[in-house]
Amino acid sequence: MDPETEFLSSKRQTGNEWELFKENVRPLKRGRNVDLLNHALKAHTNDQLKKSLLENRRRLIEAIDEYQGDDPLQPWLDCIKWVQEAFPPGGDFSGLVLIYEQCVRAFWHSDRYKDDLRYLKVWLEYAEHCSDAEVIYSFLDANDIGNTHSAYYIAYALHMESKSKMKAANDILNLGISSNAQPIEKLRDAYKKFLARSMRRPNATEEELKEDDLPVRSFGTVLARGESQRQAIKTFELGRNKLKQDQVHRTPLSIYNDTNMDVMRGHHSKPSTGSNSWHTLGGRAERNKENNAMPAKWTSHKIPQRPVPRIVGAVASSQIEVFVDEECEEKPKVHDEKDRTSSLQLRELDGRNIKKETELLRENPLRNFPSNSLPR
């Protein structure tokens, strides 16, 4: 009897947590195991299960350290897959971004994995979590990682396309095809679809010319560039908390810069441009206003206090976790294949400020890499 017939004729049911909590589940390209998913979703409301999840994560991290076989990438993959299944919403508290980063950093110099599709996929998933993945693709390019696989070219081209760099995307796909990346059919197909999409695009010649993507720096006196730069005003929040937690952002929200705004909006305001000229010094009273003004209520906004969410794995203690700067802790030895010290860092995931570290990595995914490995 085939497994499906067997399942159908049995009285077994599949739990329906996946449907009840579907908003909390980030879909994965490779799909999910529904039983693991249901279990993980149950853990949300069940401390016992939550504990066992964390215990599992710890064990998988240990397994990376203790692995003796000839494929040291495998235990990393087991760990990554498991974290993805066990933390369905993903997000900054799962530690996933940290694990990606440590995995790719453990093997970037290794010839053995340069062409390994699994290794490439870890890089690509890492890229998806970063605010600007271009630096990652450049890194892969400079270090010859993954360039025999279609997946690399497709992902790279899609990224460039998302930044409206159509010519670059076109060149990348063509390079992949001429390099005979595998599977070639998939690449050709992706190219066809890309061409179809670029036909439908409105003519965006301006962006074409600007291959240099350094941001234009302005000091508050220049209006935000074009209407297309408008973003929703970022909600002001004391301390960084829940805003980004459950969203996989590729780009952070940018703050709408309204130069006519002269009401103080917390720390994110730019100084009012009422008198934007430096030519007059202003009267004495005006110069001294910081010392003379009476403290007044902020009448325009009431900032609601939000409770800081519990970090998964953090013990509910009254102590405040002291975040130790990168420079002050032991630097992991990058060239050790077994990489004991770096998984030691991973083990400290439970006690550390996972979210903070994740955010830092999102902004600067290669920050832990030695500078001689970075593309010029």
Partner: protein, 193 residues
């Protein structure tokens, strides 16, 4: 003092077959659309000319009580590898088929059950792998062995997935036909192209 029977609560074999067949149409459309098997632009064409032809046959078989299962198979266009299987297995009340009796169940109740399944089909992206290559589909009908194969169909192998992940969805029941839904899909492979 004859009690008034609410006509629409009576289900006949023919009525039930119609409901089930209609459900297959909805489900198939929803699956093809949600899974992106056909690009949106060509979907209207598929709806009009593709599926209905397949499904009128189902209705006939359902009335005869000879349809056991309908399976929608989604395959990679390039490699023909089976990626997903949507299984609809049918239990028919043989009493009804043989003796022509009818049953009682409110239409609304049945519709509610069907809607629950449709919602689950749409929500299945939660766990189904992304189909990021062009795909094609096939409909398989499992019938009793004494059913002759109509000329628009061909005999086929079951096109199974090896080591599938399986999820059982809700079922619905007209009291004459009970339909169970199961979706199976390929296990994740980190090193798959």
């Amino acid at each position: 003092m004859a009690s008034r029977t609410v006509a629409k609560d009576i289900i006949t074999l023919r009525g039930s077959a119609a409901i089930v067949s209609e459900f297959f149409g909805y489900a198939a459309n929803s699956i093809l659309y949600n899974r992106g098997v056909y690009p949106e632009e060509s979907f209207a064409k598929v709806k009009k000319y593709g599926l209905p032809m397949l499904l009128t046959q189902d209705e006939e078989w359902l009335e005869a009580g000879k349809l056991q299962r309908v399976v929608m198979v989604i395959m990679s266009k390039a490699t023909k590898e089976v990626l997903e299987r949507w299984n609809f297995s049918i239990e028919t009340d043989s009493d009804v088929v043989e003796k022509g009796v009818s049953r009682e169940k409110s239409d609304r109740e049945i519709m509610r059950e069907i809607q629950a399944i449709m919602r689950q089909i749409a929500s299945s992206i939660t766990y189904l792998p992304c189909l990021d290559e062009p795909c094609v589909f096939d409909v398989l009908a499992y019938t009793d062995t004494d059913v002759p194969v109509p000329f628009t169909w061909i005999e086929s192998d079951p096109k199974l997935i090896a080591n599938p992940q399986m999820v059982k969805l809700h079922s619905f029941d007209t009291k004459i036909h009970k339909v169970d839904t199961l979706v199976s899909y390929k296990n994740d492979e980190w090193d798959e192209q």
